[in-house]
């Protein structure tokens, strides 16, 4: 059989394997779950969700199961943002035909690496009776063990048989046991059970008539929230025993996970999502006007804020609100140049990052003044008080700002060289006279204008077109005179902490809160957050050890189509 025919045969096998799993595995599970569900669904809890893995989650899982040296060759489907979070968009994400080809490519590439002679013994864990023929015993052992880690639950007998049979068929056809294994594991990795985190609910014996996540779904929800990856062996074992439903075991698992260094990955993932950092992938600045904003400066800006968050919230255990006022951060040489400060000499720094504390009279104060905010929410060649203001209220205050009407004339705002309207404040004031615009601009612009001292690259400036910048404003009755004052106003807003709790809750749920869940969040979670001094780790503990976090409505009777294969 020549190469082309072989590839065709393997491709057909993989596609049919995926189709089988798509059509057979899911619906069978649904039927089983639906059969055990109570007749009346909970009015307060939302439905279990089915979320497509993000690229980072995919990579994390592969690194966890097979090690960090595995190369993932292929493009991932772009993540979708919905209701302010990619974690929610993932619950609505499909996989296109082109996207499935890419997942298939990645999965085959991984399969080939797993069975490479240097890797196979470590990964497969058994030796076939013959290298040139199928060996069901060894294939079953490998696929059962690894499939459980990848599916975040044990494979059903049917699923396991499907993969083992596929492995055997190819092994016998190609006279190579490892080719069969390679294809079978590629099938696992391109199957919806792996690509989608599929939550399942079950009747809650402690609350008759109500539903909860089953123990495996609970483990996944916990693990993806705290570590942004699949459950590890300890968590899966607890799920398997059913002990994860016991408060003491849940508490112990949460404490273990919160104490782990892997928590940082989870916290980074949450704030990357909340702060809309995927926008960095397409962020550009006019190189002639803002030459300091290099590609590395852009990457560093993102990392600066994440490091600031990790240090403030996890290592120092500080009040979440201090993110808006802290002078402490981390800098690289490029960022120090952008902020026009001397980078301290740090011979111990192996990665170029240096801890830094801006002086008390610096204009840099809190993450709003970092380039990750002011540069991210600006245009390539000019600032945008509106974009910044909108981002500020949407991200940190959870206030939805409508999109502008389609027929708005932006000419006035965009003319930064206007001899008449020389500053953004004056241009926006003129623009906001349009009745259709005034409502939203009243909300966004005063906040965004508070950051006008930072140009579109994040570098401080005193003037615009020779006119001193006025960065004063008022938000909800609180006056501020500059960006430092604005950070303090945001720090003091009750909505700031409330919004964080809401985002975290919805990030963990993978969907928007129901009314009942919102009531619980406001009355219990937010109060607990305040009582704990607005510290992030206790908030995570409170959320993940609460039974309410795992309550659900029954499984939906019909699942959406997973793959749009035309």
């Amino acid at each position: 059989m020549n190469d082309r025919r072989l590839r065709g045969a393997l491709g057909a096998a993989a596609m049919s394997l995926a189709s089988l799993l798509l059509c057979g595995g899911v619906s069978a599970a649904d039927k089983a779950a639906a059969a055990g569900a109570p007749a009346a669904a909970s009015k307060e809890a939302g439905p279990p969700v089915m979320r497509r893995l993000t690229e980072v989650q995919f990579r994390n899982i592969i690194a966890d199961v097979f090690g960090s040296t595995m190369a993932l060759r292929g493009r991932f489907e772009p993540d979708n943002r919905s209701d302010f979070l990619i974690a929610i968009g993932a619950g609505k994400a499909t996989i296109t035909a082109a996207g499935f080809e890419q997942y298939d490519r990645i999965a085959r590439g991984l399969g080939e690496q797993i069975v490479q002679p240097a890797n196979r013994d470590a990964f497969i864990g058994c030796k076939p009776a013959s290298d040139t023929a199928a060996d069901e015993r060894c294939a079953t052992s490998f696929l059962r063990r690894v499939g459980r880690l990848l599916f975040r639950r044990p494979l059903s007998a049917g699923e396991l048989k499907t993969f083992v049979d596929a492995s055997s068929a190819v092994a016998n056809q190609q006279h190579d046991f490892y080719t069969g294994i390679s294809l079978a594991i590629a099938g696992v990795l391109s199957s919806p059970q792996f690509l989608y985190v599929q939550e399942r609910s079950e009747p809650d014996p402690d609350r008759p008539g109500q539903m909860r996540l089953d123990s495996y779904s609970k483990a996944s929800r916990l693990s993806f929230l705290l570590w942004n990856s699949a459950p590890d062996e300890h968590l899966l074992a607890a799920a398997e025993k059913g002990s994860l439903h016991e408060p003491s075991e849940l508490q112990a698992q949460v404490d273990r996970m919160l104490a782990s260094s892997r928590l940082e990955a989870g916290v980074r993932a949450f704030f990357t999502d909340m702060l809309q950092f995927e926008l960095f992938d397409t962020l550009t600045k006019d190189p002639a006007l803002y030459p300091k904003f290099t590609l590395s400066a852009s990457q560093d800006a993102r990392e600066q804020t994440l490091r600031t968050i990790v240090q403030t919230l996890l290592r120092d255990g500080d009040d979440y609100r201090s993110l808006f006022t802290t002078r402490k951060t981390f800098l690289t040489s490029g960022l120090a140049a952008l902020y026009r400060v001397r980078l301290p000499y740090a011979p111990d720094s192996v990665d170029g990052w240096v801890p830094y504390e801006f002086s008390g009279d610096s204009d840099q104060s809190g993450i709003l003044t970092q380039a990750s905010f002011v540069a991210l929410h600006s245009h390539p060649a000019r600032t945008s008080a509106t974009l910044r203001g909108r981002a500020l209220v949407e991200i940190f205050q959870c206030i939805k700002v409508p999109d502008p009407p389609s027929n708005v004339n932006f000419t006035l705002v965009q003319d930064t060289s206007s001899a008449v309207y020389r500053t953004a404040r004056v241009r926006l004031a003129a623009h906001a006279k349009e009745p259709t615009c005034a409502g939203c601009h009243r909300l966004t612009d005063p906040l965004g204008l508070g950051l006008e001292n930072f140009d579109t690259s994040g570098e401080f400036r005193e003037n615009e077109n020779g006119v001193p910048i006025d960065s004063s404003g008022t938000f909800r009755g609180r006056k501020f005179t500059d960006a430092v004052g604005l950070g303090q106003v945001i720090h003091d807003q009750p909505a700031t902490t409330s919004c964080l709790v809401r985002r975290l809750h919805e990030y963990g749920l993978g969907r928007m809160e129901t009314r009942g869940e919102k009531d619980w969040r406001v009355s219990i979670l937010e109060k607990g957050f305040a009582a704990d001094g607005y510290r992030f780790k206790p908030l995570l503990r409170q959320l993940t050890t609460s039974a309410e976090f795992y309550r659900t409505a029954p499984n939906p009777a019909v699942r959406p189509s997973l793959v749009n294969v035309r």
Binding site: A288, G334, A336, L338, R342, P355, D361, E462
Partner: protein, 379 residues
């Protein structure tokens, strides 16, 4: 207030305004620190400054070499048709020593002096280094000073790729040279201390250092402003000059010597004697330091910085290298060799442009090592 202080520290617009507007109110002398972005010979090449035209380049120059080598006309035509591929090793080794062919770039006196044209312009840049007005001296375009010694500019001024005009066109070769090396060699650093007033200050100090790190380019391919550099502790590359400021322009007193580590490609180091600097501190728009450094430099250093390119120097730059050597030697105007009496140094001037930077000296390194959470914006 916090902004003005921070910008003044970085040598910015508001620092300058603050100094200009309130010279009497400033309590602490200002410090400004820079990294050199451009450095190349300061020339003022204008039309008509090379009587008889520019020195020939390419095939014309090759033809002259071939004729000087008594090549038959038919062969000359054939070789010219194949130029530059026909410019083979034979012509690189066209020098003669004791009847043997030798590399003419390494042994420039092994070929006859082709007597290349040199610039005769009246105006130029630099300083009156010897305090006299000589026949080959320039009038400085910026200051009007007479007797300006810059014979290096005359030697280079009639080669197309070495010509330039400070205010219009960078010299092609030297700008390409600096463009190539500035991101790969230790950055050149300038520190000006003791600035009390940009209007009138009789006591400021200019120090130059070699950095540990090379410069980093920004998106416009220039040296990134406001980067932090550690100064090299090597005393050979530290220079200190005393100066005074008048109306935003700093001029130093003559200093005995200036030495700076350069690049590993073209010129390992730059040495100037009887050196002085003139620097504009008042570029409010772009915060850049611009000016001229002048002094006497070994003419062989100037020659070697081009001859190291070998045949590329002749073919690509179009510089007749033995001719360039003889021009430099004839125009050298200082430091006579005690044995031969031949001047070994040539008066020169270089344009300097620098961007604001932060410097960390060795003693500060230790400070930071002890506490890496620094307050780097406080000077």
């Amino acid at each position: 207030m916090r902004t003005i202080r921070a910008q003044a520290a970085a040598g910015g617009l508001f620092g300058a305004l603050l100094l200009l507007a309130s010279a009497h109110a400033v309590a602490e002398p200002q410090v400004r620190q820079y990294a050199v972005n451009w450095f190349f010979p300061a020339l003022h090449s204008v039309e008509g400054d090379c009587p008889g035209g520019i020195n020939p380049t390419g095939p014309q120059r090759f033809e002259r070499i071939l004729k000087a080598m008594n090549t038959p006309p038919a062969k000359i035509q054939k070789l010219l048709q194949g130029y530059p591929r026909s410019f083979t090793e034979e012509y690189v080794n066209r020098g003669q020593i004791d009847g043997h062919p030798v590399n003419v770039y390494i042994n420039p006196t092994s070929a006859p002096d082709p007597d290349v044209k040199t610039s005769t312009g009246k105006y130029g840049y630099g300083f009156n280094l010897d305090g006299k007005e000589g026949p080959g001296d320039f009038i400085d375009l910026e200051t009007g000073e007479r007797g300006v010694d810059n014979m290096s500019a005359r030697a280079q001024g009639c080669f197309t790729t070495l010509r330039g005009d400070l205010n219009k066109t960078m010299p092609q070769h030297y700008s390409a040279h600096w463009e190539t090396v500035r991101g790969r060699m230790p950055a050149w650093l300038i520190e000006i201390t003791g600035i009390d007033s940009l209007e009138k200050d009789d006591d400021v100090t200019v120090r130059t250092y070699s950095a540990i790190e090379p410069g980093v380019r920004d998106m416009s391919a220039q040296l990134m402003p406001d980067m932090t550099f550690r100064t090299s502790p090597d005393p050979r590359y530290m220079n200190s000059l005393h100066g005074r400021i008048r109306h935003g322009i700093l001029t130093t007193d003559p200093a005995e010597s200036f030495h700076m580590l350069a690049d590993p490609y073209f010129q390992m180091s730059i040495t100037l004697r009887s050196v002085r600097l003139r620097l504009h501190l008042d570029n409010e728009q772009d915060r850049r330091l611009k000016g001229v450094i002048g002094g006497y430099t070994p003419f062989l250093d100037v020659y070697n910085s081009i001859s190291i390119l070998g045949s590329s120097g002749e073919v690509d730059l179009g510089v007749d290298l033995p001719g360039f050597y003889f021009a430099l030697r004839k125009l050298a105007d200082a430091n006579p060799d005690p044995r031969t009496g031949m001047n070994m140094d040539i008066s020169s001037a270089y344009y300097i442009e620098a961007v604001p930077a932060f410097l960390i000296h060795r003693e500060q390194e230790m400070q930071f090592t002890q506490n890496t959470t620094g307050h780097g914006d406080k000077k």
